[in-house]
Amino acid sequence: MAPLPELTDDDRSRYEWQLWVRGFGEEGQRRLKATSVFISRIGGVGGTVAMQLAAAGVGRLILAHAGDLRLDDLNRQMLMATGGIGKPRIESAVRRLRDLNPHVAVEATAENVDETNVERLAGCADVIVSAAPRFEERLHMNRQAVRRGVPMVDCAMYELECRLTTIIPGKTACLSCLSPERPPNWNREFPVFGAVASSVGSIAAIEVIKLAAGFGEPLSGRLLNFDLREMTFTTIDIARRADCDVCGLPSPTVAGYNAARRM
């Protein structure tokens, strides 16, 4: 296991307020600095995750998102700017993240996850964040997470509602346990506010930080469903399915996961 990176004086100053957090401290910051996170995509949800992780000092962000910025992206995609309309989203995102924190390594590709590239894109990440609007992409990332035994934070939204769970392969339900196939009536364009996307993205970022630093209690084995219209927060117990096509028992080649030991 590689030794944890040291903190610089700049790190100690930049992250001073979070270094005061109970259970985190310099050790947690060093663990976070040693962590690589893959995020697909970097729109309203994934862009917020990327921004919060960059601000917090994650070691490396690997980002995937195809296509050019459109005017109707700007109500929620906080890494983008009006001047970037018609240009690749990923370029705006990388520029913004490097402006925010030049000490974070940002690798970006203008492609979306599919069966042929998921291993190349997400294959060396310590944590995967699933924030894509298409279920096929989410299910590909889920398979990759289970195959490699790395955790995946899955986040979703609709109108003023959000859902989030942290999947620990071999221990908790995977995405396929919950929804084994693409829903037949999903429309990838749906009603939502940017503040809703940022809410679930910020919670996802905290999940990643806890996993990386090895403190707190991740949202594993539980699905958080919250409704910002009525301000109701519900936690639902979720369990692995023995007949799951992806993680079903007996366990596939999952090494198990312990954030505090691995990083």
């Binding site: 309203g44 609007p133 298409r134 939204m157 109108e159």
Partner: protein, 94 residues
Amino acid sequence: MRLRVQYTAQLRTIVGCDEEEVDLPEGSNLAELLLHVASETCRDAATYLLAPGGGLQPSLLVAVNNRAISTREARAVPINSGDVVMLLPPIAGG
């Protein structure tokens, strides 16, 4: 017996309310409840509960008293008076 069915996300929008009370015979199971809801609701909402080829929609997640249950095992899950059944059609990022 009487229980509460809560709608979320797209189902909530289509049905137009957060929750409803449903009356079912004693001894009913979760699959019977879902089929009952599908038969009483509008066609658009029913597509979230029923698979195109018949049976229950596999992608629908259901929570009974905050415990998630797949529609694949709904026939084996008894329901009781006072239960709260939340219907969670899949949603995604963006």
